[in-house]
């Protein structure tokens, strides 16, 4: 058996959408190994997430509803995932390349003696499983081979579509047998509440940079995003300057987005920012500096003052949309 195990993510009892492209990745890997896809859901009060994830083509969903897992801790999730991987005959364990996946999966990989690939953008057969992944802030892509029988992969979810929704697969309670840890405690999660779509699965993203000069001026970014039903993002420089929350940061060390339409407003386009958005389908850059590197990746560039053209753009889009 060379099955594939996906660790699902959920928030407030609901499945996080990043789980779905991860299942697609797992299906593509399982097609190479000749195995089946299992999904593991750990938490407390996860019934709705279990029901939802069961409709996306997995062979089986395992779930552990336990107070031990009510708050995510790498220390308690790891032994549960290791046990589930062994019991399901999974030689490949994968998670989304989210902050939870990045925190969790190396810890699992060490316990399984698994070589680990971060941010896979492709999986294919070529004398065994091979993976492709970006590095050097997206300026290089490597093809890698994992030499160990067990493998661990975080999946760059913007590079895979969600699987088609279909009939529910069997779901089964899983006895993780994990005791609470006395060396790590979850204290709190300060969630940035928003009515807008999540950055990582929005069709439109409007991002602002340091050129906006203040947090108040991000209002025009939000207004433009709202007209388009989009999410709001920011460059590292804008987040460092305190204009935007850290959760909005797009780039090498923040979020990676690939919407149909991306607006870079008053963002110069450092390679670290480009790493997080150059997979977008259509890129619009608005900047006063015609030499700004952002124009080299933009499909449409407008050399203009954001303070004038962004409100104008928002007004005119309101009329035509």
């Amino acid at each position: 058996m060379a099955n594939v195990l996906v660790v699902a993510e959920h928030l407030d009892g609901k499945l996080r959408k990043v789980t779905l492209p991860t299942i697609t990745f797992a299906q593509q890997a399982a097609a190479v190994t000749g195995g089946q896809v299992y999904v593991l859901v750990l938490g407390s009060g996860v019934d709705a997430a279990v029901e939802e994830v069961s409709r996306y083509g997995a062979a089986k969903v395992l779930y552990a509803n336990s107070p031990v897992f009510s708050d995510y801790l790498a220390e308690t999730y790891t032994p549960a995932i290791v046990k589930a991987a062994r019991e399901t005959g999974s030689t490949l364990v994968c998670t989304p390349s989210s902050t939870t996946g990045k925190d969790l999966l190396p810890r699992v990989a060490a316990k399984l003696d698994a070589g680990m690939v971060s941010d896979a953008i492709e999986v294919f057969e070529s004398d065994g499983l091979k993976f492709r992944r970006p590095l050097w802030a997206g300026n290089v892509v490597t093809t890698v081979h994992v030499t160990t029988p067990n493998k661990a992969v975080t999946v760059r979810t913007t590079d895979f579509d969600a699987p088609a929704e279909g009939a529910a697969c069997p779901v089964e309670s899983f006895d993780a047998g994990v005791a609470p840890t006395d060396t790590a405690q979850f204290v709190s999660f300060e969630q940035v509440k928003s009515e807008r779509p999540e950055l990582t699965d929005a069709n439109v993203v409007v991002a602002g940079g340091r050129g906006l000069k203040s947090g108040e001026n991000f209002q025009m970014i939000m207004d433009l995003a709202d007209v388009l039903g989009g999410a709001v993002g920011a460059s590292r420089a804008a987040v460092d300057s305190g204009y935007a929350p850290n959760d909005w940061q797009i780039g090498q060390t923040g979020k990676v987005v690939a919407p149909n339409l991306y607006f870079a407003v008053a963002i110069s386009g450092a390679i670290q920012h480009l790493a997080g958005m150059k997979g977008s389908q259509t890129i619009v850059a608005i900047n006063t500096n015609p030499e700004a590197p952002i124009f080299q990746v933009a499909d449409y560039g407008l050399v203009a003052d954001a303070f004038q053209v962004v409100p104008e753009l928002t007004q005119k889009l309101k009329q035509v949309l």
Binding site: L73, A74, E75, T78, T99, T100, K102, D103, P106, R107, A109, A110, K111, A114, G115, M116, V117, S118, D119, L135, W136, G138, N139, V140, V141, T142, T143, V144, H145, V146, T147, T183, A184, V187, S188, F189, E190, Q191, L228, D240, P245, N246, D247, Q252, T253, L261, K278, Q281, T282, V284, F295, V297, D299, Y300, G301, L302, L313, K316, V320, L321
Partner: protein, 248 residues
């Protein structure tokens, strides 16, 4: 308090990376190297912990002989002694973590503070692997850190906001942006660093097999985006988005 931190020698992140024609690696001729920027946050935080709680900061690098330069930079910032585990082999994060685990077993630090990822390999694995090999708790992506009564309280940058986690020491903390503002080495610091102890070991001295679990078969440049168009007005932009790109 005994504090362990690490530095990686990486290519200058603002430099354009060029790939060898045979796809076996990147071209290193004329390339400038420096300390991985996330490690600067780790080193700074380690020094601040020492300034607050007293003790000693040990800085470790796993890499080529040239990485003594990055270790000396950390010593000039205020670390007390360095350890280079010297190898020219291509390392995966797993090998680095197993080497570091052996160093930690020998040095028994109270806390380990390292960068969350290297800006060349972009893997974001070493701290978590190290924690797992040592069966120690971890707090990754730290933007704040307070140590008291044998515990660390860590503010973490996570999807959807921020979160707070407490870990019992010894523990592994990985530094995110905004954890601190790394200091520059002062001239007296640089002079002092030259006399600070720096031991060199090999992975074999530590009994660690560094054969990678992940082998790189090929290096390629990503697909370039086609050149775009500069538009002259908002109306022209809306026209292109509606009628040409058809995205709105």
């Amino acid at each position: 308090m005994k504090i362990l931190t690490t530095v990686k020698r990486v290519t200058d992140p603002d430099m354009k990376v060029k790939i060898k024609p045979d796809q076996s690696g990147i071209i290193t001729d004329g390339v400038e190297y420096r300390m991985n920027s996330f490690d600067e946050y780790g080193v700074e935080e380690a020094i601040r912990l020492k300034e607050l709680h007293g003790g000693e900061v040990i800085v470790v690098s796993v890499g080529p002989a040239e990485a003594t330069k990055e270790i000396r930079t950390a010593l000039a910032m205020g670390a007390d002694r360095g350890i280079l585990v010297e190898t020219n082999a291509e390392l995966d994060s797993d090998a680095v973590a197993r080497v570091l685990a052996e160093v930690v077993r020998r040095e028994t630090p109270d806390i380990i503070v390292i960068g969350k990822q290297a800006v060349d390999s972009d893997r974001n694995q070493t701290g978590q692997l190290l924690a797992s090999y040592l069966d120690l708790p971890q707090a990754t992506f730290a933007y704040s850190l307070e140590v008291a009564d044998g515990w660390a309280v860590v503010g973490r940058e996570v999807d959807g906001g921020t979160s707070t986690k407490r870990v019992k020491l010894p523990a592994i903390i990985t530094a995110d942006l905004r954890l601190n503002e790394p200091r520059y080495a002062s001239l007296p610091g640089i002079m002092k660093a030259k006399r600070k102890p720096l031991d060199t070991l090999t992975p074999a001295d530590l009994g660690v097999d560094i054969a990678p679990k992940v082998r790189v078969l090929r290096y390629e440049a990503p697909e370039e985006r086609a050149a775009g168009e500069i538009v002259g007005s908002v109306d022209e932009l809306i026209d292109r988005l509606r009628n040409k790109a058809k995205v709105i």
